[in-house]
Amino acid sequence: MDVIEVIRISRDSLMGNRVRSFLTMLGVIIGVASVIMLISIGEGARSYIGRELGNLGTNILIVVPGKTSAKGGFHPPAATTVRKLVYDDALIIKKRSRHIQDAVPLILGDSKIKYLSQSRDNSVAGVTETYFEIRNLSVESGRFISASDVDSRRKVCVLGRTVKNDLFGDKNALGALAAIGDGKYRVIGVMEKKGVTLGIDFDDIVFIPTTAAQELFDTDSLFNITIKVRSASEIDAAKEDIRQILMKRHAGREDFTIMSQDEMVAVMGKILNIMTAVLAGIAAISLVVGGIGIMNIMLVSVRERTREIGIRKALGAKNRDILLQFLIESVTLSLIGGTGGILLAGLLSFVIPYFVEFLPTHLALWSIVVAFLFSAAVGIFFGVYPARKASLYDPIKALRYE
C-alpha cells in the first residue's frame, strides 16, 4: 500500500491530538537534546584544551626533576635524594641530540618587584632566548631576552602585560629600572597580552635571563627544562636521547621525568571521553523513558481507534497495513521529537557559551547523527508492540467496539 498515504494518515492522527502528540514528543526532545548537549560540551572541552596547548607551542617536552609516572600517580618517594636538574643539563641535551631544536633551562620563583612607590609580589621566570619562540609568545614593545643577555648574566627583564600595567600604568616602561629582589633590572620589553592558558596567566609573569635568576634566587636548581623537538615524528627519539644523556650525567639513575605536552593532551582527552560517555549514557536513559512515553500513548491511541481498525480491515486492510500505519505514527513522533531535540541542542550550544564562559561547546555532527538514529530506533522499538497489537485485532470485535 501507498506509504505516502500512510504517512498522511499518521500526520492527521498526530495533528488531531496536538497537545498529546507534543507532550509525548517532549520526552524524546529532552532526551535527544541532553545527549547532544553533553557530547557537545565534552567535545568543546576537548577542543578547548587542544587549542590552548597548541597556543603554548607544539612538539614540546618538559623534563622535571624526580621520577613520576607519566600515566599519573606518583612513585613512593625513594629513599635516595633526587638529583636536581642544572643549567648544563639543558645545554648538553641540546648539543647531543639531533632531534632537539632547543632546550630552555627554566627557573621559577616568586619575588617582590618594585618601581617607584608601586610594588607587587610576582612570579619570576628565568628563561633563555629561545623560550619565547617555543611558547609562541611575542612582545608588544621592546625586545625579548637575547643570547648575550643570558651569557653575560645581564640584569634585564621583560614584563607581562598585567605587571606592566600595575607598576607603570600608562607610562612607558622601556628603559626603566625596576627592583626585583635585591637587584635593579632594566625593562627591555613588554609582552603582548596572552591571557590565561590552562590556568597559567602569562600576563602576570616577569621574565629574566636564567643566569640572572640563578643569582636572584641563589640556586642552580632548575624548575624544568623546556624542550622543543624538531618535528612530531621525532618526539619518541628525542625522549630516548634525553633519557640516555641525563642518565649518564645522573650516575645511571633515572631520577627525572620527561613529559610530552601531547601526552598530557591525550590523557586529558581520555578522561574527557570517559566523562562524556558516562554523561551521554545517563542522558540516553531519558531518551528511553521518552520511548516508553511513546509506547504508552500509542497503546492508548490503538485502543481509541479500535473501531477504525475494524473498518479498515473490513475494507481490505491487511495486518501489515495496520501495523505500518501505527508504526509510522510512532516513528514520526520520535523523529519529530528527535529533530526538535537537535534544534534545541543547537540553540543551547549556541547560547550557553554566552552565559557560562568556562563551558565551551562544540556541536559534533556525529553526535547529531547518532542521536537522530537513536531516536528513530526508539520509535521503532517502542512502536512495534502497540502496532502489532493493533494489527492483530479481530475485525468483527473491533467493529463492535464502542
Binding site: M1, D2, E5, I311, A314, G316, A317, K318, N319, L399
Partner: protein
C-alpha cells in the same frame, strides 16, 4: 455464486460453547437480491460476517465464486474482502476524520490503486449516488441518509461481486430508509448481487428472495 454447505459456527466461551450457526446450507446466485431475516440472536449477522469473509466458519464449506474460502489466511481474506465484497453497515462505519471522498477511496487505497485514479473514481461514485455537492464534507456534517449513501459508494467503489448490507436502514428515518432501499433495488436491476440482513418487512418484500434464520438453522428460503 455463493454456496454454503453445512456451515457451523460456535464461540467457545470460558465455560460453555455457544453454537450460533448449526448447519446452514444456502445458495445465492448472481444478480440475486436476498433478504436474510430472523429474530435477533438467530445468527443472521454471524452468517453475514462469514459470507463477508470477516469471520471463518467453525466447520462446513463456503464457496465464493467457486473458490473455497473457509480455510484462507487472514491476509487472503483481507484481499477477498477488498476485491470481491462491499460492506454496508447499520451504523455507516465511516471514518469521522476523513471527508466523504476520502472515505469512499479507502478500498482502492488498500487495493493499491494510484492516488489520481482513486480520487477520480471516488468522485464519480459519489456523483452516481447524488452526492457530488457533499464530497468535501466530513461525515458529521452529513445527514444519516447521506452518510449511508457515502457508505454505499464506498462499498461499490471496487466493483465487488457481492454487496452485503447489515441492517442498512436501522439507523435511518423511514424516508431516508426508503431512499436506500431504492438504491439497492436500482443496483440490483443494474446487475449487482445483494444480500441484506434486516428485520424490517418492507425491505424483505422488495428483495426477490427471503431467507429466514431461526436458532442458527435455516427455516425457509435457503434454496
Amino acid at each position: 455464486m455463493i454456496v454454503l454447505k453445512d456451515i457451523k459456527k460456535s464461540y467457545g466461551l470460558p465455560k460453555v460453547t455457544v453454537d450460533v450457526l448449526r448447519g446452514i446450507d444456502m445458495e445465492v446466485a448472481e444478480r440475486d437480491f436476498v433478504a436474510v431475516t430472523g429474530p435477533s440472536g438467530s445468527g443472521k449477522s454471524t452468517l453475514l460476517h462469514i459470507i463477508g469473509c470477516l469471520d471463518r466458519p467453525t466447520s462446513g464449506q463456503y464457496l465464493l465464486l467457486g473458490v473455497d474460502v473457509s480455510r484462507k489466511t487472514d491476509n487472503e481474506l483481507a484481499e477477498i474482502r477488498n476485491r470481491k465484497i462491499g460492506f454496508v453497515f447499520q451504523s455507516f462505519n465511516l471514518l469521522p476524520k476523513l471527508i466523504a471522498w476520502k472515505n469512499v477511496e479507502l478500498p482502492l487505497l488498500y487495493g493499491g490503486v494510484e492516488p489520481n485514479t482513486r480520487k477520480k473514481k471516488a468522485l464519480e461514485m459519489l456523483e452516481k449516488l447524488g452526492l457530488s455537492h457533499r464530497t468535501e464534507h466530513y461525515p458529521s456534517e452529513l445527514s444519516g441518509g447521506e452518510q449511508q449513501r457515502v457508505a454505499i459508494a464506498r462499498a461499490l467503489i471496487n466493483d465487488p461481486a457481492i454487496i452485503l448490507a447489515d441492517e442498512p436502514t436501522g439507523n435511518l428515518d423511514s424516508r431516508a430508509g426508503k431512499e436506500i432501499i431504492e438504491i439497492f433495488k436500482r443496483l440490483n436491476e443494474e446487475g449487482a448481487t445483494i444480500v441484506v440482513v434486516t428485520h424490517e418487512k418492507d425491505i424483505a418484500e422488495e428483495a426477490g428472495k427471503i431467507i429466514t434464520i431461526r436458532d442458527g438453522v435455516c427455516q425457509s428460503g435457503c434454496y
